[in-house]
């Protein structure tokens, strides 16, 4: 009894699994009821409702757009996806042209951004060391924070002029590829500088530069998680750095590459202001990416949101809904790929 006191209050006896406590009769299973303190209950309720509110806001985006889009969708039906013209007043409207333009711009953006992002992220994770590495990570993060309107200004007032000779060169020498040809209605090649302005190509380059930082940071994180043991093993077997990258870093970072590319794609599909500032809107499918004129869903919305009639707005909402659903699917796929690639691939060091 005295010993108990000196030990500081209660004694606990530890039973091991194979040691049956014979002195005590087997006690009935105790019912463990965690009782929350009041502050805990409040905290739980508040945080639960905050989570619920966040989800509610996010879900109501979809719900509101669907409700508003309803009347236009009833009129247009499935034709909405296949009609190129956009004149809700006459009942002839569809997003075939703008969706095509959106996808074109996004594909060009990916052609620009993926090699850049892949190279930069490998450079940061594998080649650079010490302070230079920290600086370049900061610089890439900073680039992600540059407003899109600033990129748009740069594209409109600088890039456009300096890229036109390149466009002309491509169309002259690679004009036999249908995408790169720039022809008028009769099929004659156009070489006038004005034929190359405001094209999907220029918009795609600007959007591509805008999404590089997103892709770079995701790929870099994936590459940095490649296990150190395998890296050292590759070096120990006499591999060069590039050999190590192809044998270890790229296979381990595959999920990051795919996921990062898709997240960037989602961003590129939704980009509005830079595209709107650069492109000259047309409502027809334009296969010639170097030729002036193109469109995107978001640019269409920014262009026409001021329309007075309820029905025209409803049609715009429908276009927004389609854009929303496409980016949603891409983001879901991307984040699940990134999340799956993270599990179990980490280095233990």
């Amino acid at each position: 009894m005295n010993d108990d006191r000196t030990a500081g209050g209660t004694t606990t006896t530890v039973f091991f699994a194979d040691q049956e406590p014979q002195a005590h009769p087997p006690a009935e299973a105790r019912e463990l009821k965690p009782r929350q303190s009041r502050s805990d209950a409040v905290f739980r309720a508040v945080s639960f409702s905050a989570g619920g509110m966040t989800v509610a806001i996010m879900l109501s985006v979809g719900v509101f757009l669907s409700l508003r889009a309803g009347s236009a969708m009833q009129v247009a039906g499935l034709d909405f996806l296949f009609e190129q013209k956009w004149s809700p007043e006459t009942g002839e409207f569809g997003i075939a042209a703008v969706l095509f333009g959106t996808v074109t711009i996004a594909v060009i953006a990916m052609c620009v951004s993926v090699p850049l992002a892949l190279g930069t992220s490998l450079l940061i994770s594998e080649v650079l060391m010490g302070r230079l590495k920290q600086w370049s990570i900061t610089l890439v993060d900073l680039m992600a924070a540059v407003p899109s309107v600033v990129f748009g200004l740069w594209g409109l007032f600088f890039l456009q002029e300096s890229i036109i000779p390149v466009s002309r060169w491509i169309s002259t020498y690679f004009g036999w590829i249908p995408f790169f040809a720039v022809t008028d209605e009769t099929g004659a090649a156009m070489t006038d500088a004005s034929a190359f302005t405001s094209s999907a190509f220029i918009a795609g380059i600007v959007v591509g530069l805008m999404v590089v930082p997103t892709q770079t940071s995701i790929m870099r994180e994936a590459f940095m998680q490649a296990p150190a043991g395998e890296r050292e093993a590759a070096y120990a077997l006499g591999s060069t750095r590039w050999g190590m990258i192809t044998a270890v870093v790229l296979p381990f970072g595959r999920g990051g590459i795919i996921g990062g590319t898709m997240l960037g794609l989602g961003r590129a599909l939704g980009e509005t202001i830079a595209v709107y500032m650069i492109i000259s809107p047309i409502f027809a499918i334009n296969w010639q990416v170097l030729k002036t004129g193109g469109n995107s869903v978001s640019a269409l919305i920014a262009l026409r949101y001021g329309e007075a009639s309820e029905f025209a707005l409803s049609a715009l909402m429908a276009a927004g809904l389609v854009l929303f659903l496409i980016t949603l699917v891409i983001n879901f796929a991307a984040s699940s790929i990134v999340a799956r690639s993270r599990s179990g691939a980490e280095s233990e060091v």
Binding site: M58, R68, L116, G119, A145, V146, S148, V150, F157, L323
Partner: protein, 417 residues
């Protein structure tokens, strides 16, 4: 301080159970000759020669082609030709000393480095281009202190400014932060500290929403607030649209930061009998404070530059408006967009000036975020370390006093036994 109070207890334990007398000792350094530190990362001399030689040769070839031989022209073309020539000559030079594998390695390293250079160059170029073109407008002080009420498109740059847009941006981002900081951080706490199936669902939704197209956010607020409730376009509606954009960013960044809080800190708090809320308030949040501030600032930097949601919801005005609930209220990105829509050179110069102000604002926010966020979780500033130490000393004093009181009250009871 708090550690020193534990030392007597540890010493007492050692007396009761004597351990084997194994002590760590530093190796004797005397007599060992330490040579100069070898640099293992420096390049060999012939590597440098190859690099410089290839560079010089490439420039020479490009200059020759563009100047005399081939009918080529254009800055972009010059750089492309020079780059291709550089890669080819460099590969040739490396192959004179190394095997094919080494050539591939070197060429790929050059490719990676050039990707980085292109990216950094593009960023620096975009920033410098905007600042330079904006300089004519920025040098006039009235640009920061006047609005555009009395300045027409043809007026010089010494009349009118963007004070109304600066004020509008600050008001809108202030409202957006007032909503999204509490909601975002509490949601992130919910994801990390409460958990469960619903939390996983919330995390999935938030993840998917981080790349919500900004125009869709604007369209949502437009359809819900302006068409649905019949309100006018106003600063408040714009702030709500920015909130919808910023909320997922803040939740996700805070979620990442909170996940970095070491689990054993939480467990230590629970083991001391703290409730969940006390653990969050006294352990998790202070530990993650700098990271949370960084998350919020980066979210702000993103929200401040959003144009398209504001385009649909705030309306355009040339007049100062400080009431977010009534009348249109313009913000900096939208003002840029409006200015450059005009064909007048002065308006375009104003547009660049406004973009430069916006860019400087974002850069300042980013710099602040880096200064604060340079610390990892649980890495405290000297001031907060002193504060924690003082609190810990107070705790020890309080506990000592309490135990002395307890002993004093226990003493009379034991004497009768």
């Amino acid at each position: 301080m708090s550690l020193t109070t534990f030392e007597p207890a540890l010493a007492g334990e050692q007396e009761t159970e004597p351990r084997a007398a194994v002590r760590t000792s530093l190796p004797v350094r005397e007599g060992i000759e330490i040579g100069p530190r070898r640099r293992i990362r420096s390049a060999r001399l012939d590597d440098r020669y190859a690099l410089f030689g290839a560079g010089a040769a490439a420039l020479a070839i490009a200059a020759l082609l563009f100047g005399w031989i081939a009918p080529l022209s254009g800055v972009v073309g010059f750089f492309v030709v020079a780059f291709l020539a550089f890669v080819a000559i460099y590969a040739l030079l490396v192959s004179s000393t190394g095997d094919g594998r080494e050539v591939t390695d070197r060429v790929m390293t050059v490719m990676l480095a050039s990707a980085g250079v292109i990216l950094c160059g593009a960023l620096i170029f975009v920033v410098v281009f905007t600042l330079l073109r904006g300089l004519p407008a920025l040098v006039h002080a009235n640009f920061f202190f006047q609005d555009m009420e009395f300045a027409g498109p043809l007026d010089g740059l010494d009349l009118g400014g963007v004070a109304h847009a600066i004020v509008g941006t600050l008001i809108q981002i202030g409202i957006a932060l007032a909503i999204s900081i509490p909601l975002g951080i509490v949601t992130a706490l919910f994801l990390n500290e409460v958990g469960g199936r619903f939390a996983r669902f919330v995390r999935t939704i938030v993840d998917a929403m981080t790349a919500l197209p900004s125009i869709v956010a604007g369209l949502f607020i437009y359809s819900a607030i302006i068409l649905g409730l019949g309100l006018q376009r106003s600063g408040f509606a714009a702030a709500l649209a920015i909130t919808v954009m910023m909320l997922p960013i803040i939740v996700r960044a805070s979620d990442v930061v909170l996940r970095l809080v070491a689990g054993n800190l939480r467990e230590a708090s629970y083991a001391l009998g703290a409730s969940r809320w006390r653990t969050v308030w006294h352990v998790v949040l202070p530990t993650a404070r700098s990271g949370l501030v960084t998350a919020v600032i980066l979210g702000t930097a993103r929200g401040i530059g959003e144009t398209s949601p504001v385009l649909l919801t705030s309306g355009v005005t040339n007049v100062m408006n400080t009431n977010p609930f009534e009348g249109p209220m313009i913000s900096l990105p939208l003002q840029v967009f409006t200015f450059v829509g005009s064909p007048e050179p002065n308006m375009i110069a104003r547009g660049f000036g406004t973009a430069a102000v916006l860019l400087l604002l974002v850069l300042a926010l980013f710099a602040i975020a880096r200064v604060i966020g340079g610390r990892g979780p649980a890495d405290q500033s000297p001031r907060s370390q002193r504060r924690v130490r003082a609190a810990s000393v107070r705790d020890v004093e309080r506990m000592d006093a309490a135990s002395a009181r307890r002993e004093a009250s226990a003493q009379p009871q034991e004497e009768p036994q």
